[in-house]
C-alpha cells in the first residue's frame, strides 16, 4: 500500500498533532503488511531525525500555493492507494489529490478546529472522505453534527502515550525545582490567550482554599503563551503568587520528571480535543483531574483512570486526590492501567486495520 500523507507537521515537528502524526505514520509503515508512506509537511521546525523505514518526508513547504502544487505533483507521481490528510484545513487539497489519482481519502480531525461548521469547501471535502479519524468521541460527535457522513465512516483513533512516560523517582526534579515537602499540583499546556478554556485560572482561584485545607502547596505551571501575564496577575490578586511557579515551556526530556514530581496533575479544561497530557501524567503514575467535558472524558477513561468532574466539584476532587495514599504500588498500578488502555500496540493495531479497510 502506498500512502501520501499531507500533514501540518510530523517528523521534526512540535506539539501533540505532530506527535500523533508520527505515531500514526510509524504504525502504518510497520507491522505485518507495512505501507510505503511519503510525507509532505507544511512545517518542520526541528531536524526530522532518523525516519522509520519505508517513510520518506519531503522538505516542508509553508506557502500555501507552493504546498498545494507540490502536494498535487507528489500525488500524481506517487499514485497512492490512500491520501492521508492530517488537518481539516488541507482537506480540500487532499480531496482533489485523491480524486485526481483515484485514491481513497482519510482525513484526521483533532479538536477545536473541527468544532464549528467549516467553510463549504472543507465540509464537502470531509464528506467525500472514505474514512474520518477523530481523536475522541467528542470530536467525532461534533463532526457528525455538521457533516452528513455515514456515522460508520467516522472512527475514533485516540492519542497514545509515549514510551518515555513511566513512573520513577520524584526526588531529582523536586530537588531541581527547590521543592521540599510541599504538595505539588501540576498543569501542562499552552497558555494561549485564545485557549483560555484550559482552565489554569480555575486552579489559581481555588488555591487559597486548597492551601488552607492542605497546608504548604505549590502549583507548577508548565507551558507558555500570551495568557501568562493575565494568570500571573490573577495569582497576585488572589494572594497566592508565591505558590504558583510558571516554568515556561519545558524541554520534552524534562516532562516525565515533572509529572513524577507532582502529586496531582490538574487541567480543568473545557475544550480538549483529547488531552494527551492527562495520559502522560497517568502513565507516570500521577493521578489526573479534569472536567467531564469534551475529549478529556476519553483521556480520563470516563472517570475510571482519572477524575472527570463538574467544575463545582473541582476543589473537592483535588483535595481528595491529594489526600489519597499514593505509594509506589498505586503509581505503578495507575501507570499500568493507563498503558493497557491507551498503549501503543492497540493504537498501531487499530490504525493499520482501519486504514487498510479504507484503502
Amino acid at each position: 500500500m502506498r500512502i501520501l500523507a499531507l500533514v501540518t507537521e510530523a517528523f521534526g515537528g512540535r506539539g501533540g498533532i505532530a506527535q500523533y502524526n508520527r505515531d500514526l505514520i510509524e504504525a502504518l509503515a510497520s507491522g505485518p503488511a507495512p505501507a510505503k508512506v511519503e510525507v509532505l509537511p507544511r512545517l518542520a521546525p526541528d531536524p526530522p531525525g532518523g525516519l522509520p523505514e519505508r517513510v520518506r518526508q519531503h522538505p516542508a513547504a509553508f506557502s500555501r500555493p507552493l504546498y498545494a502544487l507540490r502536494g498535487l505533483l507528489l500525488a500524481w507521481r506517487l499514485r497512492p492507494d490512500l491520501v492521508f490528510c492530517g488537518h481539516l484545513y488541507m482537506a480540500p487539497l487532499a480531496a482533489i489529490a485523491a480524486r485526481l489519482t483515484r485514491a481513497r481519502l482519510a482525513v484526521q480531525l483533532h479538536g477545536i478546529e473541527a468544532w464549528a461548521v467549516p467553510p463549504a469547501a472543507q465540509r464537502r471535502a470531509v464528506e467525500s472522505a472514505d474514512l474520518v479519524l477523530c481523536v475522541s468521541r467528542d470530536t467525532r460527535r461534533r463532526v457528525l453534527a455538521w457533516s452528513g457522513l455515514a456515522p460508520e465512516r467516522v472512527v475514533v483513533l485516540p492519542n497514545t502515550v509515549g514510551e518515555a512516560f513511566t513512573p520513577g523517582e520524584a526526588a531529582p526534579m523536586r530537588a531541581r525545582l527547590g521543592l521540599a515537602g510541599e504538595s505539588v499540583l501540576l498543569s501542562v499546556g499552552r497558555l494561549d490567550a485564545r485557549e483560555r478554556y484550559k482552565g489554569h485560572d480555575k486552579v489559581i482561584a481555588l488555591l487559597p482554599r486548597l492551601i488552607q485545607a492542605r497546608g504548604p502547596l505549590v502549583y507548577v505551571v508548565v507551558g507558555d503563551g500570551a495568557d501568562r501575564p493575565r494568570l500571573e496577575a490573577l495569582a497576585r490578586d488572589a494572594g497566592v503568587a508565591a505558590h504558583v511557579r510558571f516554568l515556561g515551556q519545558a524541554p520534552a526530556n524534562d516532562l516525565p520528571g515533572l509529572y513524577r514530581a507532582a502529586d496531582v496533575f490538574v487541567l480543568p479544561s473545557a475544550g480538549e480535543g483529547f488531552g494527551i497530557v492527562y495520559l502522560e501524567a497517568m502513565a507516570c503514575g500521577t493521578p489526573a483531574v479534569g472536567l467531564a467535558a469534551g475529549g478529556a472524558l476519553d483521556a480520563l477513561g470516563d472517570g475510571d483512570l482519572g477524575a472527570a468532574v463538574e467544575q463545582e466539584a473541582l476543589g473537592e476532587t483535588i483535595l481528595a486526590a491529594l489526600a489519597a495514599p499514593r505509594g509506589e504500588r498505586a503509581r505503578h498500578d495507575l501507570a499500568q492501567r493507563t498503558r493497557d488502555r491507551f498503549g501503543g500496540s492497540a493504537f498501531r493495531d487499530l490504525a493499520r486495520a482501519i486504514l487498510k479497510r479504507a484503502a
Partner: protein, 611 residues
C-alpha cells in the same frame, strides 16, 4: 415478539459496559415482553445482550432468551417471528441438526452456523435480531425486508448499542440526546420520522432489509440484502397472463395467511368494515382456523349513523363464523389515554391512535396475537395515490423541461393568493413537484412541502435537515431499479415510505404498548415475490376487488361497494381538538398538520421530559 437490546464496547479504549445500563434499557421495554426476561454477557463482559419475552412459539423456559448455540460460540437476542420455521426446522433436522427447543430462535442459530450472514435470505417473517459470533469476534444484526420489527442503534465511537426502541436506548442513560435536524425536518415533512434518522443524532434505525456487522474496528455501514423495487422490476419483466391474476393472488394471500397463523397461542384478527381485514378473516377460515375472534374498533360518536363500521363488520364476522368483539371508544377515553399514548409513542407520529385502541381491545379480550390488514392498500393499489401520482406525472412531466418554473409559480401563487397558501399549502407546489414520481409522492403524502418549513422551524435547522435528508433523492432511491410500470413505482414508493415509516412503526409501538403482537400477512416478502408479476396488471379499481374475492367465500358485495366511499374516523377530529382549533374548520390535511405541530410541542413536555 419481544424487546431486544445489547451493548458492545468494541473499541479498545472503551469503558466496560455496566449491567445497570443494560437492564435499564431492557426494562424500559417491559410492555414488549411481559412474560420473561434474560441477560447474557460475554466472558470478558464487553458484550452484553438483554431480552424481554412475549412468549408465542414454544412457551417453555427452554426457549428463553438470550439463547446460546450448543457449543456456546453463538449468542442471540431476537424479536419477531419466523413464519417458515416449520420448513426450516425440517430441513435443518434432515441435515443432522438437533433441536433442543421448538422455537424459531434456535433455528436462527443453526442457520447462522450453516450459512453465516447469508442466512437472512432463508427467512420469511418479521424480525430484528443480533448474534454474537465468538469465532469471528463480531456482532451481526439483521432486520426484516419491510422493517416490521424495529431496530435502533447508537454508536458513540467507542461503544455500540442497540434496542427495539429509541426511548429504551435513552433510558440507559449513556446515549446522547443531541437533536437530529433530519429527524425533526423529516417528521414535519411526512408526519413520521424517516429512517435511518431518528429525533436524536446518535440514534439511527438499522434500515429495513439490511444487515450490519460490528467488530473491534467498529460498525460497518449497513448492507441491503433485499430490494423491494428490484423484486417489482423483475416481476414487470415477466408479467403474469391476465387469466392467471386471480389465481396467483388467491394462492399468494392464502399461503401468507396460513404462514402467519403459526403460533402456540390463539391468533385473532383486527376487523374493520374494509376489504383488507375482511379478506384476511375469510382466508383464516380457508386456512383451517375454526374458532376466530375478530376485534372491531367503533366510535361512540358514530353509533347508529352510516359512519359506524360495526354493523358491516358484524356481517363479515357472521359470514365467516367468527366471534365478534366490538369495542367502542369515546372522545373521553381518548383524552384519558392520551398521556399513555404519548408516552408509548417511541418517536413522534401523527397516527397510530386507532391501532392503540384496537390493540387495547385485543388485550382486554385476552389475545396476544392478531392479524392486521395493513399493507393491503400498498400491494393492491388501494390508495388514491395510485391514480393521482401517475396522472400528475404525465400532465406535469413536460414542465420539467423548464427548470425553475415550478418555484416561480409557487412564489407567484403565494403572493397572489395568500389564502390558498393557508388552506392548501401543497397546491402551490403542484408544478414544482408534480412532474416526477418522487416529487408527486411528496405532494401526495407530505404534510408540508420543503419550502413551507421555514415558516415553522428555525431556518438553520431546516437547511441542515434537508441537506441530510435529501428527500427527493431518497425517494428516487426507493424506486431504483425502476419497477417499469406506474403502479409498480407507486407500490415501491408507498411500501418503502408510508408503510414502513408510518403504518408499521405505529403498529409496533401501539401494539407493543398492550403486549399485542400484530402480524401483517399482506406485508410479506414471499407474497411480494408472488405478486410482482401481477402488480403491472393491477389497476386501482380491480386490485382490491381481487383481494375481496380471494377467500373461497368472497367478501359480501356490500363491503366492496361501501369500501369505495370509506369511513370517517373521529381520531383526526379528536387530535385536532387537542390542538385548540375548532375541528370543523380543519380539513384532514390541516388537522394532521396541526396535530404534528402539537406533538412537537408536547414532545418537550410529555414524551421526553429530559429533552
Amino acid at each position: 415478539m419481544c424487546g431486544v437490546n445489547g451493548i458492545y464496547a468494541y473499541h479498545y479504549a472503551a469503558s466496560p459496559p455496566s449491567e445497570a445500563e443494560l437492564l435499564a434499557t431492557r426494562d424500559h421495554m417491559r410492555a414488549r415482553g411481559p412474560d420473561g426476561e434474560g441477560v447474557w454477557w460475554r466472558q470478558d463482559r464487553r458484550v452484553g445482550f438483554g431480552h424481554r419475552r412475549l412468549a408465542i412459539i414454544d412457551l417453555s423456559e427452554r426457549a428463553a432468551q438470550p439463547m446460546l448455540s450448543d457449543d456456546g460460540r453463538l449468542a442471540i437476542t431476537f424479536n419477531g417471528e419466523i413464519y417458515n420455521f416449520p420448513e426450516l426446522k425440517a430441513e435443518l433436522e434432515a441435515q443432522g441438526r438437533r433441536f433442543r427447543t421448538s422455537s424459531d430462535t434456535e433455528a436462527l442459530l443453526h442457520l447462522y452456523e450453516l450459512y453465516g450472514q447469508e442466512m437472512v435470505h432463508r427467512l420469511r417473517g418479521m424480525f430484528a435480531f443480533a448474534i454474537w459470533d465468538e469465532a469471528r469476534e463480531g456482532l451481526f444484526l439483521a432486520r426484516d425486508p419491510y422493517g416490521i420489527k424495529p431496530f435502533y442503534t447508537a454508536n458513540d465511537g467507542w461503544t455500540f448499542r442497540f434496542a427495539s426502541q429509541v426511548k429504551a436506548l435513552l433510558a440507559g442513560g449513556k446515549v446522547s440526546r443531541d437533536p437530529e435536524p433530519a429527524g425533526v425536518v423529516g417528521f414535519h415533512l411526512w408526519g413520521s420520522v424517516p429512517a435511518p434518522f431518528t429525533m436524536y443524532r446518535e440514534i439511527r434505525a438499522l434500515p429495513a432489509g439490511h444487515t450490519q456487522w460490528i467488530d473491534r474496528l467498529g460498525p460497518r455501514e449497513p448492507r441491503a440484502y433485499v430490494n423491494l423495487s428490484a423484486i417489482l422490476a423483475e416481476g414487470a419483466r415477466a408479467p403474469a397472463a391476465r387469466a392467471d391474476v386471480s389465481g396467483i393472488i388467491r394462492q399468494g394471500v392464502l399461503d401468507s395467511v396460513r404462514a402467519h397463523l403459526l403460533a402456540d397461542v390463539e391468533v385473532g384478527v383486527f376487523l374493520s368494515a374494509g376489504i383488507d381485514s375482511g379478506a384476511l378473516l375469510g382466508l383464516m377460515r380457508d386456512a383451517g382456523q375454526r374458532d376466530i375472534r375478530a376485534i372491531t374498533l367503533a366510535f361512540e360518536e358514530f353509533y347508529g349513523t352510516d359512519e359506524d363500521e360495526a354493523p358491516l363488520a358484524a356481517k363479515v364476522a357472521q359470514a365467516y363464523g367468527a366471534r365478534h368483539v366490538v369495542r367502542r371508544v369515546s372522545k373521553r377515553e381518548f383524552q384519558e389515554d392520551l398521556p399513555d399514548i404519548l408516552a408509548s409513542m417511541d418517536q413522534p407520529s401523527i397516527d397510530g391512535v386507532n391501532t392503540w385502541f384496537v390493540a387495547k381491545a385485543a388485550r382486554e379480550a385476552g389475545l396476544k396475537v392478531a392479524l392486521s390488514g395493513i399493507g393491503g392498500d400498498e400491494l393492491f393499489a388501494g390508495y388514491p395515490s395510485f391514480q393521482d401520482i401517475p396522472r400528475w406525472v404525465s400532465w406535469l412531466g413536460p414542465t420539467r423541461a423548464l427548470p425553475g418554473l415550478g418555484a416561480v409559480l409557487r412564489r407567484l401563487g403565494g403572493a397572489l393568493a395568500p389564502g390558498l397558501k393557508q388552506r392548501l399549502p401543497k397546491a402551490l407546489g403542484m408544478v414544482e413537484y408534480g412532474g416526477s414520481y418522487p416529487g408527486a409522492y411528496l405532494l401526495r403524502r407530505g404534510l408540508y412541502l420543503p419550502s413551507d418549513l421555514e415558516a415553522l422551524l428555525d431556518a438553520d435547522l431546516v437547511r441542515e435537515g434537508l441537506r441530510r435528508l435529501k428527500p427527493l433523492r431518497t425517494l428516487a432511491g426507493c424506486m431504483t431499479p425502476d419497477p417499469h410500470t406506474p403502479v409498480g413505482r407507486v407500490v415501491a414508493l408507498e411500501s418503502t415510505n408510508y408503510l414502513r415509516h408510518q403504518l408499521l412503526r405505529d403498529a409496533d409501538w401501539a401494539g407493543m404498548a398492550h403486549s399485542i403482537e400484530i402480524r401483517t400477512p399482506l406485508v410479506d416478502i414471499e407474497l411480494l415475490r408472488r405478486m410482482a408479476p401481477v402488480v403491472p396488471l393491477l389497476s386501482s379499481r380491480d386490485g382490491k376487488r381481487e383481494l375481496a374475492n380471494a377467500p373461497s367465500l368472497p367478501l359480501p358485495a356490500e363491503i366492496v361497494e361501501r369500501s369505495k366511499t370509506g369511513f370517517g374516523v373521529p381520531t383526526g377530529e379528536w387530535t385536532a381538538g387537542e390542538t385548540g382549533q375548532p375541528p370543523a374548520v380543519l380539513a384532514k390535511g390541516a388537522s394532521s398538520r396541526a396535530w404534528a405541530r402539537e406533538l412537537m410541542q408536547r414532545r418537550v413536555a410529555a414524551i421526553d421530559p429530559a429533552a
